[in-house]
Amino acid sequence: MTRYGMAIDTKRCFSCNKCSMACKVEHNLPEDVLWSRAHTEGGDYYLTPSGTYPNDLHMGFYTLACQHCAEPACFEVCPTGATSVRDDGIVVVNYEECIGCKSCIEACPYEGFVPLSKTRPTLWTGKSATRRHPTFKTERCQSAPSASSALTAAKYPSASRCVTCVPARLAT
């Protein structure tokens, strides 16, 4: 069965989070929701290193989003069947069937990204991918960039906006 994944060269990532911001713009996510985020592997806070100052410091980055697990915990606990696994392995949520119980969020073994709005979501513009019950299923990630990024899309016809927006791609 086809399995999709996102390949990220963590040696090149410097946690600019432009991919996270592009994702947020692409999906018009509520203010406090991030479907993907670059995290710091180092100190206790974002962009701080671990180790001993000054010559033994360590800081790295990794991005975290829905992993579209082979055996998704969110799928197992969904009481309404809103969460499903497509034939291509993409885990999706049918918003018409979702009742917002947050069971999927609780069951998800990954922490550190913000898939759910704690309060009624505040949106910047009109219709959002998450207008009812914000969750973290990125069905649209495979789709072509939106018309609003037409110029970028012309250069990178097969890439999602999260890819076209990051500076590291220029070196590829």
Partner: protein, 351 residues
């Protein structure tokens, strides 16, 4: 046009000197009004404390802007400017130039910059100064015989919805300039200051040379009061202030709702500061109250300050107020990272 005077180009930073001395290049010079457009000098420039004093001397300050910047808040009059979605224009400073079409009419009383000039000119009795509409102006710019023949005139862009997609041929990046021996060229034969200035060009100005900091140097006696060095940077989240009050960006640049500084763990421990605490950074120029992030990833004697927020995003004061009026006479740019400061834990409430 009658009554027209020759234009004098002066870097805005020099307003401070002119209003102190009444002189510019030896001539008596003063200003009775200041019109600020497409700029937020208090949030982006250096020495905002002295700039505010300068504006007080000028007496009448007008800011035309899309946003209520700190500069706009300090102005006597604010003229609302329509956003790029509400006005027509041509974006030429990009690789794929495009005609910016108007999505909606300007909201409220806002107008595009050009229409504001037209209104002011007409009110002052100069109806003939800007006789064209925005579209007429754009047609003058775009409808050249060459553009019409190439299919990139106004009507072509308008028919294409603004952007004409095509096979663009980009100019090569400028090559590295080298001297007759093929080596990197450091000596600048034709070096001139950025704008008119009294400064003369010395031989050393034509070559790279070391210039000591004006404030941020080790032996500065003022470091007894302000022992730490301050600096900021321009990254995607701390550029100019056009992205102030952006809640999306704030997810990566604020801590519990407040901008933050970065301070080394040793300097923080000496002051009883831990990550998340409110701290007051101050020097002789100004002060700011914001949160602290304690890190090993900075020099023990240095503090990183955020750039690009409006003053009303800080609990009190604002970060740029710690910068001084230290303009380089040749480039006529300010020294953003030439500052010393002290940091203390902030116990007060929001003012």
């Amino acid at each position: 046009m009658k009554d027209a005077l020759p234009n004098k180009m002066i870097m805005g930073e020099y307003l401070i000197d002119i209003m102190k001395t009444g002189k510019w290049n030896g001539e008596d010079t003063t200003f009775k009004a200041l019109y600020i457009q497409a700029h937020d000098p208090l949030d982006n420039g250096c020495a905002p404390t002295e700039m505010i004093e300068t504006w007080d001397k000028i007496g009448f300050v007008v800011t035309a802007d899309q946003f209520m910047t700190t500069s706009a808040q300090y102005s006597d009059l604010v003229l609302p400017v329509a956003t790029s979605f509400e006005s027509e224009g041509f974006e030429a400073q990009v690789r794929e130039p495009f005609l910016r079409t108007k999505a909606i009419e300007p909201l409220g009383e806002s107008k595009c910059d050009y229409d504001i000039w037209r209104g002011i000119a007409a009110a002052m009795g100069y109806d003939d100064l800007y006789p064209w509409t925005v579209e007429e102006l754009l047609r003058q710019y775009l409808d050249t015989p060459e553009n019409i023949e190439a299919g990139v005139a106004y009507d072509d862009y308008a028919a294409a919805g603004g952007a004409i997609m095509g096979e663009y041929v980009y100019a090569e990046d400028p090559p590295v300039e080298h001297n007759d021996l093929g080596r990197t060229k450091f000596y600048l034969e034709s070096w001139v200051p950025r704008l008119q200035t009294e400064e003369t060009i010395e031989p050393h100005d034509r070559l790279p040379y070391y210039k000591p900091a004006i404030e941020a140097y080790l032996d500065n006696p003022d470091r007894e009061k302000y022992p730490l060095f301050g600096f900021s940077n321009h990254d995607a989240y701390h550029g100019q202030s056009m992205h102030a009050h952006s809640q999306w960006l704030d997810q990566f640049r604020k801590l519990d709702g407040s901008p933050f500084c970065r301070i080394h763990e040793t300097a923080a421990a000496e002051r009883g500061i831990k990550t998340g605490d409110m701290v007051r950074c101050f020097n002789s120029h100004g002060y700011v109250v914001l949160r602290a992030v304690v890190t090993k990833g900075i020099r023990e004697d240095s503090v990183w300050l955020p750039h690009g927020f409006y003053a009303d995003e800080f609990v009190d004061g604002f970060a740029q107020s710690l910068t001084g009026h230290n303009v380089d006479p040749q480039t006529q740019n300010a020294n953003f990272n030439d500052m010393i400061l002290q940091v203390e834990k902030y116990e007060g409430g929001a003012e």
